[in-house]
Symmetry: C2
């Protein structure tokens, strides 16, 4: 395709950041024929060792899979992951109860890929590791690099487009911040996280592998995700001031005895006491900004545009979906960057802002609501209605995780559904009370009282 | 007073930014005996000429006056300003209607002071103009300056405390942004502003001087504030895309003919056509952050901590009140910075965030609601109730502008009042309808219909 007199094969796209979104973006641009240069400040991260305690596992679901599928990479990645059908709730007494994600066949895949050599199949895409960005100009689309050489010599590149995929603490975004009328927010949550490893037992997973295990404990919680090597990565989410109270191995044991007793034998007492102090608790940030572009020169994608807290499992999926959305707009606007970039901002900002908000909402839900009977009951009602009216009533989690309905539309639809369902439940409850009163009036009281707990349990045990 | 083995007179406080809040802060610290060094990147701004089109006038009200009064500067500043008792609404047909701010004697003073040589009276306070901050370290409390000399030589200062008063685009705040768990947001509104001058007529003000003149026009508006030289500074607030549509002198005239016809002869046709294009429309930003401090080393105050949009006239007042609040906490914590700084963040953040939100809310109110009859009616009801129950019902504007009730408490109280008043109005309305129905039933209809417009006008013309 032609635009501005230069064909795509004469145009240079500089992708800054060689992580997941950067590497996938490189494929999308390479596929269109652009000269793609990916710059990554770290060593070749495909070869680097896994850093223990610093690697939240990633949940790949529909949006991410669609984005991979367009460049023929879906199967390669999915085969390296472990499918998860359900959440598994661990109560304080060690009881485990599954809550399915969606309908049969709707699974999330737990992956630990980093960039998985995505862009290597394209001769017109080049990965440059150990290249640290030093300076860049959005007006001249000029980048200066410090190569990782002892003499620290600099290298420059004149690009036609700069794609900033350099993560939540993006260097590219700093230039945006210096410009007028750039909206930006970064919000740290009061919780930090800490990772622990649960080793295999006799060569097998220590718990059922095809689940996202959750220990909800109101103000804090732990989750565990399965890895291909039969370990689980357990992540403890807790307010920083609670982390600060635990300073010795004995404190750790006391804390786990009280809140996660069933996890102690599985992680191992000694491992728990050591691993807990390997790294300090890490902070989590939610980042929103707008616009995502500077003229026809530069665009932000992935975490650099919208870092989200990890409680909806959509961080990577949203970043991957950015690539599809951009690609679709490239088609609509004939690869004319001066039209593509503003349109990308217009279309994508409301969706990314919504998923950031939803992740924040889930931050509350996962800790508190998963324990609440009303929440479980409403989830059951939603599931029954979705079974009866599969097109009309779709649970929010399903829309977000297993469809490509735009995030902000999914949220609007959910608000509408909630209104309708709650009104329906009110009508049913009123009917039941009136009907009940009538029956009691007709047949004098010989009714056996049932504890409310049992009613809940019966409702929740209904199978759909 | 002693703290950390060093007396206050041995301690150096570096105030970065010599604007209004910086200069006032210098007074507060100097009064306590600290060695105060104020650094300002610009030339001596007391001597600099007024930049036309870049100087939103400032409304000094109760909070700001209290802060000045503590250092004996209130009268000096107030005598240089013009008191404003009311807002004056200009309707499209040129009709002017006053809306008082509060009770008699409650006035806002329009001032154009910059730093007014506030800190000069203290021998232990030094103003350093033309000093540009180059580097600084929050851990070593070390600042490096570039003096405004041809050789560009650098100068360093080791301080005990750094006070960042360097405005909405603060250099000091940039170091905060690099630290983990610093929450920050900057939100630009879609409106820009542009200033025009309304000259005196035969040596006198062209309009009544003791008013804030407002031309509310829904999506945009103009205001005018009086200056000591008998001119008015008119500020036009309008969405940027509307500004972009006006490109010629004739466009300006057409636009003013349609929306502000009464202002044309007062500003003057030729002045209007030229001044309008002197500078491009300026952006307005709302900035919130937290925490305001780094350890016991550095603290942000004024616009660097909380830039607000200019629609509540509280920007300078909130910045001045920062100085009192900090001063009060200095007393409570015996000038121990390690206790004062976290306490200042704890106390002040919720109030500053509230005034930022209220200013944003007024951004809508001033444009739209001032034209709405329900808004005017509710304002009238509030005023009547405030007259009858002066301690129970206080209009929000009065609490914000004429008291030192903490901003966030004023907002909470306003929500409570609104609930009570709206319920009361509902009861009255129901009573009136029932009573009316009864009367109509008793005395068959011979009632003359009154247009609703007249009812409003009668209600609004009630004098309190």
């Amino acid at each position: 395709m032609e635009s501005g007199g230069k064909s795509s094969k004469d145009k240079v796209v500089a992708v800054v950041g060689g992580g997941l979104v950067g590497a996938l973006n490189a494929c999308y641009f390479a596929r269109r024929g652009f000269q793609v240069e990916v710059f990554e400040s770290r060593d070749d991260i495909r070869e680097a060792k896994i850093v223990r305690g610093r690697s939240i596992n990633l949940a790949l679901s529909h949006r991410g899979r669609q984005a991979l599928s367009r460049v023929g990479m879906e199967e390669k990645i999915v085969s390296k992951g472990i499918p998860m059908h359900s959440r598994m709730i661990h109560s304080l007494n060690g009881k485990q109860s599954p809550i399915p994600y969606g309908k049969k066949g709707q699974v999330t895949v737990c992956v630990m890929c980093r960039n998985a050599g995505l862009a290597e199949r394209y001769p017109n895409a080049k990965m440059n590791f150990d290249h640290k960005l030093w300076l860049w100009s959005p007006t001249h689309v000029l980048l200066l690099w410090l190569e990782g050489r002892p003499d620290g010599s600099a290298q420059s590149l004149q690009a036609d487009l700069i794609v900033g995929c350099d993560g939540a603490f993006s260097t590219i975004r700093k230039q945006f911040l210096r410009r007028s009328r750039f909206n930006f927010s970064q919000t740290y949550i009061p919780h930090g996280y800490l990772e622990l490893t649960m080793p295999p037992v006799a060569g097998e997973f220590a718990m059922k592998p095809n689940y996202l295990h959750i220990w909800p404990r109101n103000t804090f919680m732990m989750i565990a995700l399965p890895n291909l090597d039969k370990t689980f990565t357990c992540t403890l989410f807790m307010p920083f001031d609670e982390f600060e109270k635990i300073t010795t191995g004995d404190d750790v044991m006391e804390f786990f005895q009280e809140y996660f007793p069933d996890a102690i034998p599985l992680i191992g007492v000694e491992a728990l006491k050591t691993d807990y102090f390997r790294l300090p608790a890490q902070a989590m940030v939610s980042i929103k900004c707008s616009p995502y572009h500077i003229n026809d020169k530069c665009v932000l994608m992935g975490d650099s545009a919208h870092a989200v807290v990890p409680f909806y499992g959509q961080g990577m999926n949203a970043g991957f979906e950015d690539c599809i959305v951009f690609d679709e707009i490239m088609d609509q606007c004939n690869e004319d960057f001066s039209a593509v970039l503003p349109e990308y901002t217009r279309v994508r900002v409301p969706d990314d802002h919504t998923i950031a908000d939803l992740a924040m909402y889930n931050y509350v839900e996962m800790r508190a609501h998963v324990n609440s009977k009303w929440f479980l009951f409403r989830k059951k009602v939603d599931d029954i209605l979705h079974f009866l009216l599969p097109k009309k009533i779709v649970p929010l989690y399903t829309m977000v995780t297993f469809t490509r309905i735009r995030y902000h539309e999914a949220l609007q639809r959910w608000h509408w559904q909630n209104k309708v369902i709650n009104q329906g439940l009110l009508v049913c409850a009123t009917g039941a009370v009136l009907g009940g009163s009538y029956l009691i009036a007709k047949h004098p009281p010989k009714i056996q009282s049932i504890p409310i707990e049992k009613v809940w349990d019966r409702l929740l045990s209904l199978k759909v």
